[in-house]
Amino acid sequence: MFEKALKGNTNYRIWLAILGVFMAIGGLCYIHQFNTGLGTTGMGRDISWGLYISQFTFLVGVAAGGVMLVLPYYIHNYKAFGKITILGEFLAIAALLMCLMFIMADLGQPIRALNVMLHPTPHSMLFWDMIVLNGYLFLNILCGWVILTAERKGVKPPKWIYIFVYTSIPFAISIHTVTAMLYCGLPGRHFWLSAIIAPRFLASAFAAGPALIVFIALILKRVANFDAGKEALNKMVTIILYAALINAFFVGLEFFVGYYSNIPGHMHTLQYLFFGLEHHGHMYNNLVPFMWGFVVLCIGGIILLAIPYTRKQNEFTLGLGCLMIFIALWLDKGIGFVLGGFVPNPLHEIVEYTPSLNEIMITIGVWSTGFFILTILYKIAVGVEHEIEN
């Protein structure tokens, strides 16, 4: 089926070429980082994880979000999702590959990455994360490919594949749960030390993933003549809305626990993220604009998706609403959550993080690679759909 990715109109080629340029720049920047060390990034002794790990965390959610299509279709037999379930599975593949690239970009000794398998360590959450991420990647490649091949031949998918389809559902939940456990089991990091992190991650994942799929489905309708169907999109928006609201509710709960209990450790990071933290006469607030961006975009997106006119009658506002939700949750989890957790540091000093240009270009390079893969996968999926229709 790969041949479908090779043929395409000018716009398709230009889009891939643009992504290719950013991939090349990112690759060159990575070579620089590989030869010089992670000192080329903005990370340091106090903020020891930066953009790479925060992007990884967010993208695990995007990958897990695909299950919001798989679950209704395969378990509840919700037929309207039949056409777009493959979009969820392929999005998961692209997002997981981005996750793995971000992990590799973040390692100080990437050549030794296989040590995680050579010396399996069950008490480390990173070991389990490696297992579930690779497992979920394998399941999505297998299920997506087998089912798409069967569709193309006009036959029913083989029965054995359903075992893997059903297994992929708890795996989707597990990837984001285990990723949350990377953070929420660490003593002395009060902002992360919260039992609500895993459910909050899942809620934001089930909004961000589907929001991206709806947004892309609207684009595919224009550029690739692929109609996901009104009913499917409408149902997905319902899922996005509820998930985004639950995420906002969880954020609110974190505020209540911190500020009502008045325990400094539980307030510091929230204070730093949303209002700025004063320390020895200096105001530290470089993430405040991002967090208020999250609040505004989240509320704006929810409003656009909740009002019947902007949701059902106007595709522009529908797409805008989804994009706003996606960016809002990226700001929340892909920026604030990971970076904020390091402030203040264990010695209650405050150090702020600013990514370096090299680091930003690598990050953009990985995102471009992910979208490159996604474009090719979607090209194949849409190509097969057109073939069946003809």
Binding site: T36, G37, L38, G39, T41, G42, M43, G44, R45, D46, I47, S48, W49, I75, N77, I103, D106, L107, G108, Q109, P110, R112, A113, N115, V116, L118, H119, P120, T121, P122, H123, S124, M125, L126, F127, M130, Y162, I163, Y166, T167, P170, S174, L182, Y183, L186, P187, G188, R189, G341, F342, N345, P346, L347, H348, E349, V351
Partner: protein
Amino acid sequence: MDKNRRNFLKVAGISTLAGLGAPAIVDRVISGKGEGEVFASGGAAGHHGAEPTEHHGEGNTESHKEEKTGTRYGMVIDTRQFNANPKLGVKCVDACHKMHNVPEFPKGDKNEIKWIWLTNHENAFPEHSQQFKDKDTADNKVLVTCNHCENPPCVRACPTKATFKNKDGIVMMDFHRCIGCRFCMAACPYGARSFNWLEPKTILPTPTNPDYPRRMRGVVEKCNFCADRLALGEKPACVAAAGHSGAMIFGDLNDPNSEIRKVLKENFTIQRKPSLGTNPSVFYIV
């Protein structure tokens, strides 16, 4: 439809059971190997007993469990002595960093590497009362380093066992196994770990101590209680630098007759962040 649902429930049930059971079995299998045997082979170092570093083996998965017998090295830092002699702290830091070829960065540099350093009382003990400080705690600095916790969160977090707890209680680093994921740095509640953000050999072209290896870039490092010196029957470099001032006392916390236990018995001491349950092996007389 019904048939599908039934099939699903079967599969879901079996996979749930497998998911719940597998970690327990894996844990059982690994702990069954028994770390005791692994270390027994390295026990030839005599009763001064620093284990040779290459013998850390695979058996450290259970290191968070309490080891009631055997050595547990620990340290008492008497801040009164450091307050009385303000130059002593710097001397201890220098002795350590020279001994271990720790490259020097400008103070506060993001790439800084610190094995032992001086900080304010409020930073060393952020959970203790900082209101109405007395002159001594307000004006003086406190030495902080790796606490060689009895329940080290860094060891729990490390995905490759590159950091592990030795049988003598020392939390060690294997620089050759570390993949540089820095999970241990996020896990350490004391900020005791440093990462080689840059190539250390370019910052420290000639080693200050040719007998100790310099590290490569991209790995984490920290205080190791001078395990290599202990193996030779010497005291850690910082303790040796403090000399006979009594400012630093080093010894076996599990030996009721050791000097350190005597000091602990005679003085009121505190640990850093005791509420976290890590049980640090470094104690402070304030």
